[in-house]
């Protein structure tokens, strides 16, 4: 058992996690659950004598955010206390799906219905007939995976085509280098920037994310700004001029979806100009010659033609990375959200491998883990060993080319799930547990197809904070969930793991924490797999099972925030491999630029680029109708994915979905700032308000995602809260990369035109929506 003494705690002026300040009780904790993002900033939660949430402040003693907070946490009381919250379990008759015909029921009745319905369907169709959909990675993964597996099903799904968010880069990295990699912003040290071993990155290459607004990989985005003040220079690879791009030595205004070509072009430039780290490559990389040969096909001129970035900028960026003593690849989900995501992220990472930016101060470091649950909690024990025949039924694992699904993750393959729902082959999926996820308005492409597939289910349970279009369209039972101020839990998640605890401060009313719901339902079905009387006992068990730690929730709360010991260059000391051998945790012990893992999975072993399709070079015949390159998913300060649209104090500052258009393009298309337009491609259209800005290439337009309009009528026949009009997923398709990972969420062709009277809506009435079938040849 690991020793809790190994964790370095941060002292507090007031040692107790809960104390009185004037009329308020202050509870120190972590913001890791809905509402809001998956960072888990340190917070001080202020409640009154009735345990009502008054406000949240940033915890200045917490090394992670050092007192800082974004607008969403500063307004979290408006979410927690919102009159729109779900406050009671609800039921609705199967035939009333899509109608606002909910009936409030007790938790006991809800649990009884869930138990009876799922039990009946599993008896009829097999245990695997149940699947679960998991929302974004807040406090969810261990509990929902365990619930899935303890109910005998191998199918826990993240509802994006090609699992194209984070998992893709993690899986790709583990296959090629034995570990995931994040930039070194001193986040592993409680002393942060004052730690003597740390130095600021000389170069931070921001690639496919806008970190000050977004929050991927456990990165508090403003750490980049902290490092700029300490001398870090920036490169930004982004189709838009962001604030960070404007402060960069080189802004590469990449054509969306061509990142792999850019990476290969940079590798070629670095090798041809002898800028790579010979010693690191000789000792610690495998397949350099083969990589060099693959990159040889991408000389600067050709790379520039593909990516639309001037040659001199590509060269300057490549040289800056290669010549720096400490360079960070600040990568984001854009590298996951392209169809061939695995070779794309492999190519981007290879730049930093061949220039030796690995495991050094201010470079790329492998995040240490306190809890290891990337395969979920209990997959091996509850599924793999117990029922190998069920393990073989995990959606997609039977496809030979999806070998990486069998490489230490337990996710079921989402695109395969959609096909299974449509065909009933190789077996019938009949019931769904949907937990803090909104596939129709947020994660899933082609909402018509997604809805028609999911509508076939015999039974759907949803667990959420608010009513959503997905719940209105699909659910039979709804369970209201608590927010992070209303529950106990751990924040031990993505990025560099530190131990934080989520501490209950405000009265949850009749809602329950997601963890408690999962425990209580799990217990009904399989008491042996859930032997704990309460969530605190369950947290002790996850510490043992996933962390090898003999400790309790209360002990962790006393320690929090707490840090693991860290040292650089662990490949030289055997600390990156479980067997203690030197090097990286791959078959060759080296970073595999030529990947034996990919080769063994029948995938190309070297990084490659494929033109995004449709796209200006791949489908020039579409350019007459759809001449603009569209990218999606631009982040906003005022909302997180599809959350927050019903919170007036946040919505007021960004009331509508937007599309950014260059002034020349706006003039050409006859649209002005503030106009409502349709963005349309060959698959569908969505409505947006035009923002005219010089910060985007005249050939691109960019829009934000996750939109629905809670103030509109919700019933299916009334348009699902305006979702059909404003969901940019109308333009997307279910189509994943060769390996089963990655999908083109961020690159397609489109046109824009003004919304005119009589053409203000996409009409998708219930019958049409529930029975939609994709046309052949469009998929």
């Amino acid at each position: 058992m690991a020793d809790l003494q190994n964790l370095q705690s941060v002292p507090h002026v007031i040692p107790e996690y809960q104390y009185q300040e004037g009329e308020y009780t202050v509870t120190r904790g972590s913001a890791w659950s809905g509402p809001g993002c998956h960072l888990g900033c340190g917070v001080l939660i202020y409640t009154d004598e009735n345990e009502r949430l008054v406000k949240v402040e940033g915890d200045p003693e917490n090394p992670f955010n050092q007192g800082r907070l974004c607008v969403r946490c500063l307004a979290v009381q408006d979410v927690v206390n919102s009159p729109k919250r779900l406050t009671s379990p609800l039921k609705r008759k199967r035939e009333d799906r899509g109608k606002d015909a909910w009936e409030e029921i007790s938790w006991d009745e809800a649990y009884d219905i869930i138990y009876e319905s799922i039990t009946t369907l599993q008896e009829q169709n097999g245990k695997e007939t149940l699947f679960t959909i998991m929302g974004t990675g807040r406090d969810i993964s261990p509990w929902l995976t365990r619930l899935t597996f303890s109910l005998g099903s191998p199918n826990c799904v993240f509802a994006m085509s090609g699992l194209s968010c984070y998992t893709t880069r993690v899986v790709g990295c583990i296959a090629t280098s034995g570990s995931f990699w994040v930039g070194d912003y001193s986040q592993q040290f409680p002393e942060r920037y004052d730690h003597p071993d740390w130095k600021a990155p000389e170069v931070i290459a921001i690639w496919g994310n806008n970190p000050v607004v977004a929050n991927s990989d456990g990165l508090f985005g403003h750490w980049v700004v902290d490092c700029m003040k300490r001398g870090s220079k920036l490169i930004t690879i982004d189709p838009r001029v962001t604030w960070l791009a404007a402060r960069s030595e080189a802004h590469l205004g990449i054509r969306p979806g061509t990142d792999a070509a850019l990476a290969l072009g940079m590798i070629d430039y670095i090798i041809k100009n002898d800028l790579y780290d010979h010693e690191f490559v000789d000792k610690w990389c495998y397949g350099f010659e083969e990589l060099a040969a693959a990159a040889d096909e991408y000389p600067l001129a050709k790379t520039s033609e593909i990516t639309w970035i001037p040659e001199e900028k590509i060269a300057r960026a490549a040289r800056m990375i290669a010549e720096s003593d400490g360079a960070v690849l600040q990568w984001g989900v854009s590298l996951d959200m392209c169809k061939e995501a695995l070779p794309t992220s492999s190519a981007a990472f290879a730049i930093f491998a061949i220039t030796g930016q690995i495991e050094r101060p201010g470079g790329m470091i492998s995040p240490s883990e306190i809890l290891r649950y990337s395969a979920g909690w209990g997959y091996e024990e509850l599924i793999e060993k117990k029922t190998p025949e069920i393990a073989a039924k995990r959606a997609g694992v039977w496809k030979p080319e999806y070998g990486l699904l069998r490489s230490g993750i337990s996710a079921a393959h989402t695109d395969t799930v959609i096909e299974m729902l449509e065909t009933g082959e190789p077996y019938k999926l009949s019931c769904l547990w949907l937990q803090t996820a909104n596939p129709l308005a947020c994660t899933s492409p082609d909402p018509k197809r997604t809805l028609a597939a999911l509508a076939k289910l015999d039974f759907v349970v949803a667990v959420d904070l608010f009513m959503t279009p997905s719940i209105m369209a699909l659910a039979d039972i709804v369970l209201p969930v608590s927010t992070f101020t209303e529950k106990d839990g751990f924040r031990v998640g993505d990025g560099f793991q530190r131990c934080e605890t989520i501490n209950k401060a405000s009265d949850p009313g009749n809602t329950k924490p997601d963890t408690q719901i999962n425990l209580e339902i799990g217990k009904r079905f399989n008491p042996e797999a859930w032997p704990w009387d309460n969530v605190q006992e369950m947290y002790g068990a996850v510490l043992r099972d996933c962390g090898g730690i003999d400790g309790t929730f209360e002990q962790m709360r006393d320690l929090a925030p707490a840090y693991l010991p860290f040292e650089y260059r662990r490949y030289e000391t055997g600390k990156l491999r479980p067997d203690g051998q030197l090097g990286f945790n791959t078959p060759s012990g080296r970073i595999e630029l030529w990947s034996s893992y990919f080769a063994n999975s029948n995938l190309p072993p070297l990084p490659y680029f494929e033109e995004p399709t449709p796209g200006p070079l791949a489908t020039p015949e579409l350019l007459d109708k759809y001449p603009l390159v569209l990218t999606t998913g631009a982040r906003s300060w005022w909302s997180f994915h599809s959350e927050h649209r019903q919170i007036p104090s946040l919505r007021a500052h960004k009331p509508w979905p937007e599309v950014e258009v260059h002034p020349e393009t706006a003039e050409k298309y006859g649209v002005s700032d503030g106009d409502w337009v349709w963005i349309e491609n060959q698959r569908g259209r969505c409505k947006r308000v035009v923002v005219v800005t010089p910060t985007i290439d005249p050939r691109y337009v960019s829009t934000d995602h996750g939109w629905w309009l809670p103030e509109e009528k919700g019933a299916m026949d009334d348009g699902l809260f305006g979702m059909w009009d404003v969901d940019c997923n109308n333009l997307l398709e279910w189509k994943c990369g060769k390996a089963g990972f990655g999908s083109n969420y961020k690159t397609m062709l489109c046109t824009i035109y003004k919304v005119v009277e009589g053409d203000e809506h996409n009409v998708w009435k219930g019958d049409a929506a529930y029975s939609y079938a994709p046309k052949k040849g469009t998929e």
Partner: protein, 116 residues
């Protein structure tokens, strides 16, 4: 001694945390501001350059304290920082005595000092 706010606008990212923190501290409604971000975004040379080669941007945010700003008198009396300074994500705001802030102002360009 008079107090003020020193703002390093070289590094203000325009995240609006100061505005929201202020609004919540002072009980302001959604359209009201005790501090507001001013925005200056354009290419410095607007003519005759293709977009991919336009590198020289004016891309600046400056938070400006307004009439509702009392420098969080209640908070500072209790030994806390003004809430905008406390929550500023880019850590570009300093609260202190005007004389001391003026010395810090002399040390670095792209700063501005407010006495609200």
């Amino acid at each position: 001694m008079a107090k003020g706010l020193l703002i390093d606008y070289e590094f203000c990212t325009g995240c609006h945390s100061c505005e929201m923190a202020c609004r919540k501290e002072h009980g302001l409604s959604d359209g009201e501001f005790g501090i507001k971000i001013a925005e200056f975004i354009w290419p410095k040379r607007a003519e005759g350059l293709d977009w991919q080669r336009t590198d020289d941007w004016q891309y600046t945010y400056i938070p400006v304290p307004l009439d509702e700003c009392d420098l969080c008198a209640e908070r500072t009396a209790a030994g806390k920082l003004p809430t905008c300074v406390h929550h500023c994500q880019a850590k570009v705001m300093q609260y202190g005595e005007i004389g001391e802030l003026a010395l810090a102002l002399a040390e670095k360009p792209k700063q501005t000092l407010f006495r609200p």
